[in-house]
Every structure is written in C-alpha cells, then in structure tokens.
Assembly symmetry: C2
Homo-oligomer: 351 residues x 2
C-alpha cells in the first residue's frame, strides 16, 4: 500500500469543528496526491437540525458543515456518512477526531470491521491521567482495534486553520516512521506544516497537560500580574509538563516540547482558549465563585478540561510522593478546589 | 571572600530603569545577608533635572530615581554616586547595567582601578552579532578589565519587578559555579527567582536574538493572523534562535532555551515590547512606511534593537551560506529592508 501498489483510502471519524477542518485539509491533498483515493468519507454523528434536515444530508448538499463549521466549503470530495461501518468500509487510514468520551464506544463498534493493515491517527486531546498511568487515546484505539495508531497535536485552532491561516502540527509515532510520514503528507499544506517525532507519549501528553498550565495563565491574567509574570508561569508550566511526562514515560524526549505540540500549543492555549478564560474569571472573583459555577455560566454545559486534568495529575503526584517536584501543577489543583487562594499561583520556591 | 572571611561589596554601574530596579533588588538582599556589606553604590551618569537639581543628588535625597523609576523607594542602603571611580572603590562585585553602546567606554575608564579578584555580571541585552562571531558583552568586559563576568537575562520588565510582581531570571556562567551561585543569592527574592546555567553564550545570545523574533510576532499581529499563527511563528523563532546559537557556539545547550532567558523572555517580548509594537505598525501600513520612519515617530529617537540585530544575523547567514537553514531570521531582515512584503513572514517550507 505505502509503496504505491494500491491507493490509500482515508476515512475521518468525527465531524465537529476540528473534524470538519481536518477533513477539508485532508481532502485538499487526496484530490492532488496520486497515492490517495480522492474521496474522503467523514462519519457524522447524526443530528436533526432546527430546519428538520439531517446534518449529514445538509453537509452533502451544501458541501459545508452548517452547524460546526459554517461558511467553509469542505471540498467536493468530502462525503458525509452517518453510518459508521459504511464510512470506514475499505478505508485503510482512519482519522479519529471525536470528543474523547466517545472514542471507546466507537472503537468497540468497529471491532472486526476493519481491513487488515489499517492505520489510525488520533487528533483527540483530553486523555485521562490515571493512577495506573496515562490512558493515552492512541493506546486505547490500538488496544481495542489492534491497529497501529499515531497522534497529531499542535497549536490548532480549527477556525483559524479553516480560513488557511498559517499553522503547524506535530505527529507523534511509535516506531514506523514511514507511516508517520504518510500521515504528514496527508495533512501538510503550504499553510499547515506538519513535522513527525518518534515520541507518541510526549506528543499526546502535551495535548492534555497544557490545559492545566492554561488555568495557571488565566489566574495570572485575572490577578492583573502582567506579561512578565505570565511568561514566567508559562515557562514553569512547560518545564513541569516535560518533567511530569518524563517521569510517567521515560522515553519522552525533551525536543518534543520545542515542537508545535509543546511550546506553540501551550502559547496558543494560554493566550486564548476557554481554560484560560474561565480561570481569569475565577481569579477576578477572588475564588469566591467555584469553577463549576463559572463553567455552567460561561461554557453552557461544556466542562473545563484543565480542571479535571489538574485533579487527575494531583492524584498521581500525591500517590507517588511527587508533589514537591511539581509546585505549579499541584498549586493549580489546590486553587481549583478552593484550598488555596488564586494568588498562590505566584508563590514558589525555586525548583 | 566567598567563604565569608570578608564581606562582599557590590557596586551597580548604571541607574536607568533596569539599573534602578536591579539596585533595589540587590539592596534588599545585602541588607539581610551577612556575607554582603549593606551599602550598594550605584553609579549615576549625571544629568541635570528640569528642576536644576543633579540626578544623583535627587536620588540620594528622595531615595528614589525620579527620572527612570519614579514612585519606587530604592532602599536606604542604595547610594547614588556620579563618580565612576569612587562608585566602584573597594567593591568586589560589579553589576553592569548601562545601555550597550556605553560599556566599552566605561570599562576603559575602570582599567587598573579594580580590586584583585573582582567579579562582574552583565545585565545588558543587545550584543552585536558580527561576521567574526558574536561580540558578547560579558566577553568585552572580561577582555578589557581582565575579570570573570557572568550574565543575567530573562523575562524582566523592570517596572513590573519594581512593584514586586512575580518573575524569574537566568544567570549564565562560564566555569565557576560558586561565583554564579553567589550572584544568584544577591538577586533572588521571593518574587524574583534566579537559576544558574553553565552556558554564558546561550544565555546572552537569547537576550539579543529574541528581538528578531519579536519583529516577526509583531508582523503577525499587524496582519491580524491570530494567536495560532503567532504561536507557530514564536516557536519557529525559538528553534532558529537555538539552532543559530549552537552553530555560533557549539557549547550552547538546548536546556538554556527552556530557562527564563529563553522561552519566557521570548514570550514577554512577543506579547509586549517595542520591537513587537513597531513591527505591528509596519505590517498595518503594508510595509509602505519604513522602520526608520516608524521608529522616529513611535520611539522618539530610540532605535529598534530587533531591526539592527536582524541585519547583523543576516550578514552572518549569507556569509556562511546558512540562509536556507534559518527562513524566519532571514525573512525578518528581508521584510525590514522592504525586499519582501510583510505577508512573507508566514510563507515557509518545513525545515
């Protein structure tokens, strides 16, 4: 397959904001590259729109996801399909880009339905950091489906990539560089540069841990501490992300944190993003209104990734006796649960 | 001296904004630490204030630098002295914090006037990157005065540190860790954390090269490209800073770029700062008004560090045939001189 003997067929599992943008990126390449079939099938979790129309039909008629990416043509070769099994039929390259809580259920439905030699890639941020170790989503996919699975992470605000603003991403792979390079070819455009690194754990951990640092950055914003302090907190956060990742997975590489998935995604998330925003509001209220309350008010039902990840990380730190090594990660959780005031975010000893 | 047999005496050479803040930080520690004399002498380049009073006298009367750090008490143990030779008399620890163009002249005046065993530290950003190699300011001081000289760099906006907002800095040293640690002790406070790294070249190069990246970040702001693109450009900039530093000085360490002098100072400079600001205006004007013109209008006579450093770096890159390895650093210069449009800042090939 990879040698050009047969064409690769790509299916995208997920059609939210990022899923739609990913399909658009991919379709622009499959239309041009001879080693790929033009058509990209995009599995849609079916919804009935306010007009009474089905989302999948609307996408296929307008070539546009009017709910999650309005105003952007996806490319004529993107075909929405609400039937999961049919969407992946004959595909040998599967892109997973659903909310993280749905991955397991979706994979279970696909057991026994995939072509031999199928490759996967996960664009899903939000793995859980459990006591037993990190539950990487790429690993979950591999375990259930028995397929190799890479990850793609980075400073990727879907709406900005949709309008072709310059951006980058990082693909993490386990061993097979040829497959990672094939994925990179599928995603790369002149405005979306993709690099590959042999560090799947590091890349995937970045995508989750950055949200805890974004809470810290938001607190600094809410305390009106200025750019100097914010930069210091982001730096300490980046170092703790790196050190924590290396303790969890000794194969994690320093260099990964210089990639888009590391420092760039951290910067984007600490400048914008909902974790930063709600944490800013939390600090402005002097910690008197809980994160739960602010989330409900500001995010309309969505949950803050950073708060739950901070809790998971804290459990690991206390269980393993690592708390003193990670003052920032620990402090974020203790502030989130009201044990420390927001101002504690800038009270450190050197480490 | 370092073993406590005699007390260290500190003199600060320079009394601008950062010099005044540095004196204040240092004086808060010498007043407490038994291994230092309380008194900190601060050399003042004498000026006559609009009131007719001398700046040095005004500082000593008000314990405040009304011109460069108004409203902040320096500490009763800071003594302003307009006589350079007298200011450094008996001192064995000299802090250099003048504008970079004055260092050479000041050092020449001090030849033969220093105690044996005197140690120096440079807080001066703005070394030149010459064809023959980088002209490090620490090295200039060492060459003229024959003293060991460390550097202190980092995300240090003087006015924010003056009001004790949390910040960090990095001390780079050549070999003598004991001396570096003594400097760290002199600067560290609960709101100003200082780490030491054995990489003087890397630390000092960071303080200069970041200004070129800040120009790039400002262009992205002026083009309204969004946080995603800005983060990508900052990341590419950080990587090129690192790669360029390592080519210039093979002893430069990757880890230095994770320190305050690296990623944190870069973030601060790309979020605020005059290089970013003028570059933003340049892009908003579509490159039709030159940097010289905008500088004159926006900075009232001050020159943009980033523009001249970009030119120096470009000369090195073309001379050594490294241009293709450093697309961002090269592109910044070509945009500055009007050879490329501002939009070129986001047109890259993977490297």
């Amino acid at each position: 397959m990879e040698n050009g003997h047969a064409k690769n067929l790509v299916a995208v599992i997920g059609s939210g904001n990022w899923g739609s943008v990913a399909s658009r990126l991919i379709a622009s390449n499959t239309a041009k590259l001879p080693s790929f079939h033009d058509e990209v099938r995009m599995w849609v979790f079916e919804e009935i729109l306010p007009t009474g129309k089905k989302l999948s039909e609307s996408i296929n008629q307008a070539n546009e996801n009017c709910k999650y990416l309005p105003g952007i043509k996806l490319g004529a070769n993107v075909i929405a399909d609400p039937d999961l099994e049919n969407a992946v039929k004959d595909a040998n390259m599967l892109v997973f880009v659903t909310p993280h809580q749905f991955v397991e259920g979706i994979c279970k439905k696909l057991v026994g339905k995939l072509r031999p030699g199928t490759e996967g890639i996960s664009l899903i941020k939000g793995m859980e950091v459990k006591m037993e170790g990190p539950c990487m989503i790429s690993k979950l996919i591999t375990n259930i489906l028995g397929i190799n699975c890479c990850v793609l992470m980075g400073a990727n605000i879907a709406n900005e990539i949709a309008v072709e603003k310059f951006s980058e991403a990082t693909i993490g792979y386990k061993k097979d560089k040829e497959v990672a390079t094939r994925w990179a070819k599928l995603f790369t455009t002149p405005y979306f540069l993709v690099s590959v690194v042999e560090d799947i754990e590091g890349v995937e951990l970045c995508g989750t841990l950055k949200n805890v640092v974004a809470i810290a950055a938001g607190l600094v914003d809410g305390l009106d501490m200025g750019n100097n302090t914010k930069a210091a907190i982001m730096r300490i956060g980046l170092r703790e992300m790196r050190a924590f990742s290396k303790l969890l997975s000794p194969t994690v590489r320093d260099n990964t944190f210089f990639e888009s998935c590391g420092v760039a995604d951290l910067i984007t998330t600490c400048l914008g993003g909902r974790n930063r925003r709600v944490a800013e509001a939390f600090a402005r209220n002097g910690g008197k209104r809980s994160f739960d309350e602010l989330e409900a008010e500001m995010l309309h039902g969505q949950k803050l990734q950073g708060v739950s990840t901070a809790k998971e990380v804290y459990e690991v730190l206390t269980y393993r006796g690592w708390q003193e090594l990670f003052p920032l990660l620990s402090t974020v959780h203790e502030i989130c649960i009201g044990q420390l005031p927001p101002t504690s975010i800038v009270e450190y000893r050197i480490h």
